[in-house]
Amino acid sequence: MTIHPASDRSLLFSFGDGISFDAHVAVARLTRCMEGVRGILNLHPAYTSVLVDFDPCLRSHAEVESLVLERMAGDREQAPPEPRHLEIPVRYGGEFGPDLADVARHTGLTEARVVELHAAAEYVVYFVGFSTCFPYLGGLPPELATPRLSAPRKHVPVGSVAIGGAQAGIYPLASPGGWRLIGRTDLQLFDLLATPPPLLRMGDRVRFIPVGEARL
């Protein structure tokens, strides 16, 4: 683990520079250990790192560093909590997945095979981030990896199921975005009245269930 100050009120804890399930486990553990600690304002988990924001009037960089090391050591024997399992119904292709044909072309597979592979895998929510509670999913079958669009769309519809490079994701709110859209879900992934509003959380296991007429 490497530790760097990111600002006068935050420290960045990094676990190597490779996106992997092991890195996710370490990221999730640090986040869990530091939730609700006095003087810690926010935790920003990502693929291989966690940014810890603290109140600089209550804590120093050195204190936060030793607090994290202490709590990580104390948690070593703890088994991680059982993950939640969620199923996401998806209508693939056609107007719901305008980039499905491009993904098939890029991967050399048929559209039906892309859908089959995408829906057969189990995904892990590596973290939730960016600007709109976006869940970053690990577990995309490697043969489905497809580069992002060269120019992002100005408007991606809410619930769009997408591939961005080797990662998978779902847009919980309508927003701009550059990932390839292969389907859409009607499931509400962001509920303003819920605490917290996003349905998917770090560590959740996700499966996509094809529904309705696939428009291939």
Binding site: S7, R9, N42, H44, Y47, S49, P196, P197
Partner: protein, 293 residues
């Protein structure tokens, strides 16, 4: 219960406190007052806890009728109100408080003794404008309740108040990818773009050279200066994304966050590098001023 009516909301007026903390790992940044120093000062002046909910007005102020009277303080930028700024002012029953266009800076705060009595979402009254978490900007006809959460007597007028005059020198500490950059950020002069908002302040000026390093998306703090491929820096602001994939040569210091909240389009911005110790010293001085109120 005492309340006041919104006759005109102004360009963008929202309820803010110091922000909603503890939800970044669900993808929700803190939001909160863009000039938290002015919001805290306003609250302390009327005898509230520093974190009480108050109104944040942006570029153009609103018009409010106080049916039952109140004690208020206007802080931040001068929006041409007849109410004297940076001091507690007694508003008579039926009196109207009018604010106009910003004369300097971008944001003016209206704190009310007792605080605004508004619902809290996940522990905060702050409106997160981009997602709608915490509510929406004020509209004509809204009625806001005045709470009874004052904690001490109103204070004397503030002295030595921070003033923004259209040119900001932002102090910054080295960012996580500082080693990838030279000192270009600190030599150029930038202008605030019209496309700036509570998510980010976009700057226009000499492009920073694209660094060669390989970046994996990581958590980003308030005030991070990120550099997209076009080299035009973006300073992440109170409603910033929680993670980002652009390299960050520097981070604006906490003691200068209030200046970010007062920047308006076309203002000039320069950066000056300070050490971590220097940044924390400046923050201590600012806190001392605040608690001298």
């Amino acid at each position: 219960m005492s309340n006041f009516h919104v006759i005109a909301p102004g360009f963008l007026t929202t309820v803010q406190d110091l922000g909603r903390f503890g939800y970044a790992h669900f993808g929700i940044s803190a939001s909160g007052a863009a000039d938290a120093l002015a919001l805290r000062a306003g609250n302390l002046l009327v005898g509230n806890a520093a974190n009480a909910a108050a109104l944040e007005m942006t570029l153009t102020g609103g018009e409010f009728v106080f049916e039952s009277g109140a004690v208020i303080a206007l802080t931040g930028s001068d929006f041409g109100s007849s109410v004297a700024m940076w001091q507690p002012v007694e508003i008579r029953p039926g009196e109207t408080v009018r604010c106009g266009a910003a004369r300097n800076g971008a944001r003016c705060y209206l704190a009310v003794r007792g605080g605004l009595d508004v619902p809290r979402t996940m522990g905060s009254a702050s409106v997160h404008v981009m997602t709608g978490v915490g509510g929406r900007p004020l509209r004509r006809g809204d009625v806001l309740g005045i709470g009874s959460a004052a904690v001490r007597r109103p204070r004397k007028p503030a002295r030595g108040v921070p003033v923004h005059d259209g040119m900001a020198c932002l102090r910054a500490t080295a960012g996580p990818q500082a080693a990838w950059f030279g000192a270009e950020l600190y030599s150029g002069s930038y202008r605030v773009s019209e496309e700036s908002n509570r998510m980010g302040i976009r700057l226009l000026g000499p492009a920073l050279p694209s660094p060669g390093g390989h970046m994996i998306t990581e958590g980003v703090p308030l005030g991070a200066i990120q550099t997209p491929p076009d080299g035009q820096p973006i300073v992440l602001f109170v409603e910033h994304q929680t993670t980002g994939g652009y390299p960050k040569p520097a981070n604006v210091i906490s003691a200068d966050f209030w200046r970010l909240g007062q920047l308006r389009p076309r203002d000039e911005v320069r950066f000056e590098q300070v050490t971590m110790e220097g940044a924390l010293g400046l923050l201590r001085d600012q806190e001392e001023w605040l608690y001298s109120l």
